[in-house]
Point group: C3
Chain length 347, copies 3
């Protein structure tokens, strides 16, 4: 429980109304009642703001007069909400120690302030930093380094030679460092290329559940500082994701592709291998990127959902789009010729 | 081993032929031999039906005379097949009890009829209902409730505050309750929004292998009764899937989207966030849904596979589709003008 | 450490230069220094080749004179690189034995040369062949057969009745044999079809991290010899993948589809169910395949990424593509009529 004034103090913000009101939880504008703090992040929410009974609401200056109870006035209410959300985290706190049923190699180092849960495995020459959380049944192979304050949730697997910076959060069943998909064509079938590189992950990185990041073939796969990866993402070997870029769920980035800094890539995109995507690029959902992008901006591909029967007709026409374009060219030529004739006739 | 009559009795159906024939297994029409029961679900299968040596075949009235041995006459042979398929399940039955190598928190409750396998973990204040199966290396965090007769296969992870109704089946390595992908933009990088909601899953729900369902940000992510989710699906935070809707593999549904009841969504679809999809909507494979759907029906997007070289030409033309449409408009105007001139000339 | 001559001998290749140079590692042309072996796989790399200080470089005859130090002359430098890559694998070697914290059913058979790691589970009547590696927390259910020299990485789950041939490599958190997505429509909701088939996987198969392969409904799902599957792939029940076919990450292949031999399917493709894809078919990334392919060749679908604002305009036009095509037909008729009139006028 916090007072409105305490929260405002943390945010270095002004309070309009009663700073002594007590806050027990966060809630959206539409359902917040007494004891809750809420936030108004956009003008669409104004009708809800006027009726909201929350004890306090994070608002920008222009909305402060619409608040029924206390207002905390900030530049960016959504960011302020994000900043205080952690105050209301009720989840279990770290309990330092190594439980009996985990297995730590003799040559591994685990900080005394770290927590290792039931069934966790730490391999030879690996090290776990201060205040790390290693969840149940996590497997960390040999020669891995996990820096301080990093949280690895249940079921994650790190292959050998994976380094993870401070303050990262890796969600359940993610796999980091599995072999890249590298094979050379033989007369019959495929010759495996042994994947000898590792994975380097910066600090403040979040990696979603069931996301897979392959180890490099010869050099490393690299994830920059502050990168945010959602669930079910695939990152191929030797890819590089620049600092502060964010990738939404189910996107696949193929091998050796280089994503610049501060990019955002929406969900279910497919980005081919060996491309360069310049810093500040934004790619909308389900786009297929098969060429490098050299100019920052917003990019898209695909078609929009429509009623199935009309779609079927349009799809058939797509297959003759080139022919359609050629027919237009012919028509343009013919119409021009006819116009000339017509004009000639006039003169 | 069951007699044809026993099966017919269960299905409340009539037998044509010998009800005493013994059935040992189910097989498709194309390979069924003596001892098998088979089914004829559509007219395409009629040629196989005429030659099938199965001891009994599930058929509708119109096909009953084509069966060589015994026929069990039902309204919907495919549904009848589904209903009896469980009779032939040879898989290991539940063995109640908690094995030594699992770990159950002191404050957790596990029904005496439930089975907990090797390496399973049950956290504080969680409860496991009667006749539940908790597979090897399953991790169930704190404050989870698993209701009776639910089966959770090896390697599944439930984060804290996940509730699962009766008679559900969660397949291996699914992750339920990982953090939603919520970040607010900062001057540099991203501020994490602590994900404080939970996940609520109804009864009779099936969740496929490696499917991920994120916890809500403030309120819960909700999966209705009788929902069927295939493998590799991603469900974002605060999404809601209505009762009896079914989603095929590798589809991603972004945060706060509301899918109505009795929808079917085919594989590899990408459904954007904050949308409403009305009950009774059917979406075909690999569709990109970026707007709400307000009228029940069948919807699609995308283009159809074609030979690569012609596709390349068509794709190039797609980028000038708007220009093409404008050129047509110009042509139409010009041709109209020419026709008027022509007609004027005539008069 | 190997001499250049040793490597050349293994590859049955000639050495140009000093065969006694010692090689400690492999590196790409762009960063290779003394002690490294490198390779030149395409003409794009020629500028790097001329400047590369590697002690030895794998080249084809035409490039042998460009090498600064020793050259090993081979037909296919990329394949030669793949063949020797395993020599430089520094990862931990197999340590035969069963650790205490694993659990092997009494009726299971584990070869004495196999390694079972911490938390691994082997079910009733299953068998693990010679020199197999079963990683930490792997779960192998009942009636599975793993043949010799197969490596199953941490966290993999095999359901009952999965057979895997010799010399396979299954990456972490893959799930093989989960229930196929089979339900019959009921008056309200869905009736589950018990999935009674198994999975059969050939020899020399690689299966990527988090890939899921469902068990068959009545008969088996089949993966041929030498098949290579990348990460995050979904294979539906009763699908069949022909020998030596390779599938890149995040692709989904629906149930009962039959992929022929020697196909390549790029990443993020969606292949519908009950199709036949003929041997020697190549499908480019993010293609939607909804019809069988009967002629070997290269196939594609989708549209290419473009700047968002122009894309939006083109997407709108796609919805009237059929109408556009019809308007062109009308225009063609009108222009033809006008031309005839014009010509009439001339005569």
């Amino acid at each position: 429980m916090f007072s409105v004034a305490q929260i405002a103090h943390f945010l270095q913000a002004d309070v309009i109304g009663d700073g002594n009101l007590q806050i027990t939880h966060i809630a959206p504008l539409t359902s917040a009642e007494e004891g809750a703090i809420s936030f108004c992040a956009n003008t669409k929410s104004l009708p809800h703001l006027r009726k909201c009974n929350a004890s306090a609401i994070l608002v920008s200056t222009s909305e402060q007069d619409l608040v029924l109870n206390s207002a905390i006035v900030v530049d960016n209410p959504y960011l302020a909400f994000a900043q205080i959300s952690k105050w209301f985290d009720w989840r279990a706190k770290l309990i330092a120690g190594i439980v009996d049923a985990s297995k730590v190699a003799i040559s591994a180092k685990v900080a005394s302030t770290a927590q290792l849960c039931h069934g966790a495995v730490v391999g030879n020459n690996s090290s776990i930093g201060e205040h790390c959380y290693i969840g149940p049944n996590v497997v960390i192979a040999d020669y891995c380094i996990i820096e301080a304050n990093t949280r690895i949730e249940a079921g994650v697997v790190l292959y050998q030679d994976v380094k993870i910076g401070e303050n990262c959060h890796i969600h359940s069943n993610a796999v980091i460092g599995a072999d890249g998909f590298g094979f050379a064509k033989k007369a019959v079938g495929w010759q495996k290329i042994c994947q000898l590189g590792g994975v380097r992950i910066g600090r403040d990185v979040e990696i979603g559940a069931s996301t897979t990041i392959d180890r490099g073939a010869l050099s490393d796969t690299i994830i920059g500082d502050g990168v945010k990866l959602d669930n079910q993402i695939q990152i191929g070997h030797n890819a590089k994701i620049g600092d502060y870029s964010a990738v939404a769920a189910s996107t696949a980035i193929a091998g050796s592709t280089n994503i610049g800094e501060n990019c955002t890539i929406a969900g279910m995109c497919a980005i081919a291998g060996h491309l360069d995507i310049v810093a500040g690029t934004h790619i909308t959902g389900m786009s297929m990127v098969s060429n490098s992008i050299k100019k920052a901006g917003v990019y898209s591909s695909g078609t929009a959902t429509e009623e199935h029967h009309s779609w079927k007709r349009n799809v058939v026409r797509f297959r003759s789009l080139d022919a359609i374009a050629k027919r237009i060219k012919v028509l343009e030529r013919e119409v021009k010729a006819l116009s000339l004739e017509e004009n000639k006739g006039k003169v």
